[in-house]
């Protein structure tokens, strides 16, 4: 599903100095698998997720990204989304003046258009979205509000999951979707994600906590430090990290 080969990326900071963030990422996520990426703050997890989604602020200096065998490096963000890639953002942006329902409909219908499906009419859309909102425990009143505007941290995360459920991506990347969630919210988010698990679909969760991984059990756990994946293992690795932190891995960093 997703193959990342030797990905290097840099960014120009405010002083126009080039800073290297990703330094040779290799990753292979097969269809049907759930991978977790863990790692200290600032190690480059969100940068990787954003580059996958097509953010142009970063310069990719080396490497490739294949989605379903297709090189997506040259694709615009919207083309990646319609090709089935979804990123649940760590910090979903507030968009005043844009109605949440209008936005969801625009998103769903552009993905449908790409898949040669007719746009959903208002009634079908409403029925669908209401059932999905129930699934993630969101009140219907959020439909009439502006996208994420004034949403609490947890409400924003639920809104991300709602979008994922509506768009039914092939590859979902969840960047710290568990951060800032109360227990109930965590459970409904996990339920939403688990309902998406499918032999034809892959999920990458970026998280700091083992807690989420006890609900969404990963096939593979990776540790990213300073822009490299320095260790990969089974679900036990997450438990080990929870217990020992990242310090013991440092000797492995090249």
């Amino acid at each position: 599903m997703l193959i990342i080969k030797n990905l290097h990326a840099t960014i120009q900071d405010e002083k126009q100095k080039t800073k290297s963030i990703l330094r040779g990422i290799n990753l292979h996520v097969k269809a049907g698998e759930v991978h977790a990426i863990m790692g200290p703050n600032g190690s480059g997890k969100s940068t990787l997720a954003n580059i996958l989604a097509g953010r142009e602020d970063y310069q990719v200096t080396q490497g490739e990204i294949l989605l379903d065998g297709q090189n997506i490096m040259e694709l615009a963000p919207e083309a990646r989304a319609t090709a089935g890639l979804f990123l649940a953002f760590q910090y979903p942006v507030e968009i005043p003046g844009v109605n949440n329902m209008y936005f969801l409909k625009a998103a769903v219908n552009s993905v449908r258009k790409h898949n040669q499906l007719p746009p959903l009419d208002a009634m079908d859309f409403l029925t669908l979205i209401k059932s999905k909102m129930k699934e993630v425990g969101m009140d219907e009143k959020f439909l009439s509000r502006a996208v994420n505007e004034g949403f609490s941290g947890g409400e924003k995360k639920r809104n991300e999951i709602l979008q994922m459920l509506m768009l039914e991506p092939k590859l979902a990347i969840l960047d710290e979707t568990d951060s800032g969630l109360d227990i109930d919210a965590l459970q409904s988010v996990a339920k939403g994600v688990n309902s998406m698990r499918d032999p034809k679909r892959s999920i990458v969760v970026v998280t700091h906590y083992q807690r989420l991984l006890s609900y969404i059990v990963p096939d593979v756990v990776h540790v990213m430090v300073k822009g490299q994946i320095i260790k990969s293992g089974g679900k036990e690795l997450a438990l080990e990290l929870e217990e020992k932190g990242y310090g013991w891995l440092n000797e492995n960093v090249g």
């Binding site: 989604a53 097509g54 953010r55 615009a76 963000p77 919207e78 990646r80 989304a81 319609t82 990123l87 953002f89 979903p92 942006v93 968009i95 005043p96 003046g97 844009v98 209008y102 936005f103 625009a106 998103a107 552009s110 993905v111 790409h114 502006a146 996208v147 979008q163 768009l167």
Partner: protein, 429 residues
């Protein structure tokens, strides 16, 4: 001085040739007097505070002709309105106009006809001294008074649908028109007016328009000004609003055309408890496109309230000027005034000069003002695109979001629709 002379040369000959044999002597005299005043005053220069950011010096070197009469093949307006007066290159077109739905006691006619048929009613409005010193183009407009609209809505009369005044410029270049509109809403009358200026195959022309609005006590008057001239045109407008007790006026200016557009709007609160809500939207998309909104709100009576909300989106090397001034006289107790101007820059080369101003000689007032100039939120754009929304559409969504606040409360669907179309056309460039 010599530059002004060049201008006055063509003006003089235009003035002489434009003399109408049909006009009554009082009007002839008024025009002569206004012409002299203009020649004495001359064009405004950038040394004048009120014209600091808008350079009209190029007009001195341009000689515009008075237009010849043409018959257009079809009308270019996206507004469907049931009551309309249409002017082609400044000339009234009876065939294109439609006033059949008008209540019978309302007078809506081209100004020239109104002068003939309702001389006593029109004369006092026409002869009112306007602020030519500050806005010399008004002298010029008075000197050349040709055509325009006279609208008189009598007491208690509610006009059921908006009245559309369409000024279409077509099939000629380098000409000048001087529309003069007088709109009177008597006590408790209600009316909505749309004044639209647009073009179809006309270049480098100059519209110099003056519109006077009179809202008598308890009248409700809504005025929409749609300026969508050709992008080589010059559009200079002066809109004056006179409000009496408990009158209620809404104004809405949308400016998307012209190379240079200058909109002066003055609100005079003569009596207490009057209200005026001003909104504006400018959408600029060409290099050298320049739109200047100058607003003056004269709080001369107590208990009046005014709000001003102008938003603009600028692309390329366009420029916008916003100057909104609220003046509260001593004794204008319980004045309530709000002003805000927000700008969205789509390019690094676009420029905005914004200045909300307050001049207050009364303690018992509540005034707030604010202005912002910002860029498009790149994170929001990325967010929309990351959900599969095409870049173009995402930009349209975000520009709509930016102006949403201005679009609020526009009840008439045809006007809403028109504005949305303009925005859509703008955002899809």
């Amino acid at each position: 001085m010599s530059a002004v002379l060049t201008m006055s040369t063509w003006l003089e000959s235009a003035f002489v040739s434009g003399r109408s044999i049909m006009q009554p002597s009082w009007l002839q005299a008024f025009r002569e007097q206004q012409f002299d005043k203009f020649l004495q005053r001359g064009l405004p220069t950038r040394k004048e505070e009120w014209w600091k950011y808008t350079n009209v010096a190029f007009l001195e070197k341009t000689s515009f002709r008075l237009p010849i009469i043409v018959k257009p093949k079809k009308i270019h307006s996206t507004l469907d309105s049931s009551i309309s007066l249409v002017f082609i290159n400044g000339q009234y077109s009876h065939e294109m106009s439609n006033t059949s739905l008008l209540p019978s006691d309302v007078i809506l006619s081209p100004l020239s006809l109104a002068i003939e048929q309702h001389e006593d009613l029109v004369k006092p409005y026409l002869l009112q001294e306007l602020d030519g010193k500050k806005h010399p183009f008004t002298y010029l407009n008075s000197a050349f008074i040709g055509e325009g609209v006279f609208l008189h809505v009598p007491e208690n009369c509610v006009v059921p649908s908006p009245i559309h005044l369409l000024f279409l410029n077509t099939e000629q270049n380098d000409f000048i028109t001087y529309p003069r509109n007088i709109i009177v809403a008597q006590e408790k009358a209600q009316v909505t007016i749309i004044e639209e200026h647009t073009a179809n195959q006309a270049f480098n022309y100059f519209t110099n328009v003056v519109t006077e609005l009179h809202a008598h006590s308890n009248a409700h008057l809504s005025y929409f000004k749609l300026q969508n001239e050709h992008h080589t045109a010059t559009h200079i407008a002066n809109v004056k609003v006179q409000q009496q007790q408990d009158s209620h006026v809404n104004t809405f200016f949308i400016d998307c055309g012209s190379r240079l557009a200058r909109e002066d709007l003055t609100i005079h609160f003569h009596e207490r408890h009057a209200e005026c809500h001003m909104k504006g939207l400018y959408l600029l998309e060409h290099d050298d496109q320049h739109v200047d909104n100058h607003i003056f709100v004269d709080h001369a009576a107590p208990h009046c309230s005014s709000t001003m909300l102008y938003k603009g989106i600028l692309d390329k090397k366009s420029q916008a000027v916003f100057n909104g001034k609220v003046y509260a006289h001593a004794g204008a107790k319980q004045t309530n005034a709000q002003q805000s101007n927000h700008n969205l820059l789509l390019s690094r080369t676009a420029e905005v000069n914004t200045k909300p101003e307050l001049e207050i000689y009364e303690e018992d007032v509540k005034c707030v003002h604010g202005a912002t100039v910002g860029q498009l939120n790149e994170d929001a754009l990325f967010y929309l695109r990351a959900r599969g929304v095409e870049k173009e559409e995402a930009l349209t969504i975000l520009t709509h979001a930016f102006i949403e606040e201005v679009m609020h409360n526009i009840a008439d669907p045809s006007i809403r629709n028109y504005i949305q179309q303009r925005v859509r056309a703008y955002a899809s460039l």
